[in-house]
Symmetry: C2
Subunit: 236 residues, 2 copies
C-alpha cells in the first residue's frame, strides 16, 4: 500500500501497521477471533480503531494479513529443515530429524520475531478450533503441500507402516503441538510444578521423543487381532 520507501518506510517511527498486526496476533491467539473486537486490538496497539480499517479494510482482512505474514517464512524454514533431514542416512535418526523439522519451526519463528512462531502456531490452533472460515481456506491451500511432504518423508523412513497410519499419527502430532501451545499451564499443574509447560525447548524434546516412538509403533492391521466392530475400511 505504500509507494515511497525512501529508506525509511518500514522503519517509520512506531509503525502502526506492525503494532496492530502484533496486537491482533496476540489477542486472537489468546482469546479467539470473535472474542476480540477491533477496538480491543486498536487499544492494545495504541492505535485508533479507524486505523485498523485503513490498513486492513476489515477484521477478516487483518486475520488474512497475519497469515500471509507468517505462512511463507514458516513453510520455507520447514522445507529447508525437511530437506536436510531427508539427507540423514540412519533411518532412526532421519525420522527424528524429520519430526524435529516439523516441530521446531512451530515453536520458534524462522523469520523475524522471537516467539513469533509459537504465537502464530497458537493462533492457528485457536482458529482451527473455532472453525474460522478465513483460516480454514488459507490453511488447506498453504499447509497441505508441506504436510504431504512431511508425511511422504516419514513414510520413506518407515516403509512398512501404511500411509494411512502415518497420516493419523502426524495428525496426532499436530494436535499435541497445538494443545501444548494453547494450554501449557496444564502441564505445569498436572506435574505439580515439576515441569514447565511454557518451556519451549523442553516441550520440543518431549514431543519429539514421544512422537518418534508413536510413528514407530506397529501398523494397526497386524496389531489388533479382533476387537472393534465397524472398521473394515482402511488398508493399504
Amino acid at each position: 500500500m505504500a509507494r515511497k520507501p525512501t529508506s525509511k518506510e518500514t522503519a517509520r517511527k512506531p509503525n502502526m501497521r506492525e503494532a496492530i498486526l502484533a496486537a491482533a496476533e496476540d489477542l486472537f491467539a489468546t482469546n479467539g477471533f470473535n472474542a476480540v473486537s477491533v477496538r480491543d486490538i486498536a487499544h492494545a496497539a495504541g492505535a485508533n480503531p479507524g486505523s485498523v480499517t485503513y490498513h486492513f479494510k476489515t477484521k477478516d482482512g487483518l486475520l488474512l494479513e497475519i497469515y500471509r505474514r507468517h505462512c511463507g517464512p514458516m513453510n520455507l524454514r520447514r522445507s529447508e529443515l525437511l530437506a536436510a533431514a531427508r539427507r540423514v542416512r540412519d533411518l532412526q535418526d532421519r525420522l527424528e530429524a524429520i519430526v524435529r523439522a516439523y516441530v521446531v519451526p512451530a515453536f520458534t519463528s524462522g523469520s523475524d520475531l522471537a516467539g513469533g512462531g509459537a504465537r502464530f502456531t497458537r493462533l492457528r490452533a485457536v482458529m482451527s478450533a473455532e472453525g474460522n472460515e478465513v483460516a480454514r481456506k488459507i490453511i488447506a491451500q498453504t499447509f497441505d503441500d508441506t504436510s504431504h511432504a512431511f508425511i511422504d518423508a516419514i513414510h520413506d523412513s518407515l516403509p512398512h507402516i501404511p500411509r494411512t497410519d502415518i497420516v493419523w499419527r502426524s495428525h496426532f502430532l499436530l494436535g499435541a503441538l497445538y494443545y501444548s501451545l494453547v494450554t501449557p499451564e496444564r502441564v505445569s499443574r498436572l506435574s505439580r510444578g515439576e515441569a514447565d509447560g511454557s518451556d519451549a525447548a523442553n516441550a520440543i524434546e518431549q514431543m519429539v521423543q514421544a512422537t518418534v516412538a508413536a510413528f514407530q509403533a506397529p501398523a494397526l492391521d497386524q496389531a489388533v487381532p479382533a476387537r472393534r466392530p465397524t472398521v473394515a475400511s482402511n488398508k493399504t
Copy 2:
C-alpha cells in the same frame, strides 16, 4: 428450577430445555462460544430467545449447565474403565487398557446420547482453545483428579519413566484427542480419502496404538545425550 415432577417433568412433550441444551452444545462445539448468539441457539432449538434466559439465566449459565450435564457421567465411566484396566495383569496390556479407558469415553458418551461424548469433548476442546473462563474453572476442578488418576495408573505400569514425562505424553494424548474431534476432515483430506477422520472406532484404534507406543518411549534424560541449551530443570 421445576417443582412438580409428577412423573412427567422430565418427559414433557418436546422438552424445550433439553432442545436448547443440545442445540447450544452443538453450536458451541462447532463455532466456539462467542461466535454463537443466544438467538442462534434459540432458533436452532425451535425456541424463543427469552426461553433461554428463563431456563439458564445467562449465556454463561447455559454453558455451565452443559458441563454439569456431562462431567459427572463421563468421569464416572472413565473411573470404572480405569479401575477395570488397573486389574489387567500383563503390563503391556494394562497400559493399553488404561489408554483405552481414557480415550473411549471421550468419543462415545457413557450416559445418554449416541455421539454425545464426542460432541462434548469437542466442546471442551474449543472452549479450551478460546480460553473460556467458565470452562477453565470447571475443567480444572472436575478433570484434574481423573487426570491424576490416569497419570498415576500409567506411571504404575511404566515405573522406569519419570512422572514428568508421563504428564507430557498424556498431555499430547489429550491434544491429539481434541484435535481429532475438531478437524476430522483433515485426516480424510491428507490421506486422500483412504481414511475417514470421522470414523470414531478407527480414530480410537489409531490413537490407542500410537499413544501406547509414545508412552513406552524411553525417558528423555537417557535419550538425548547433549543438544539443547536451556533445559537443566526437569528430573525425578
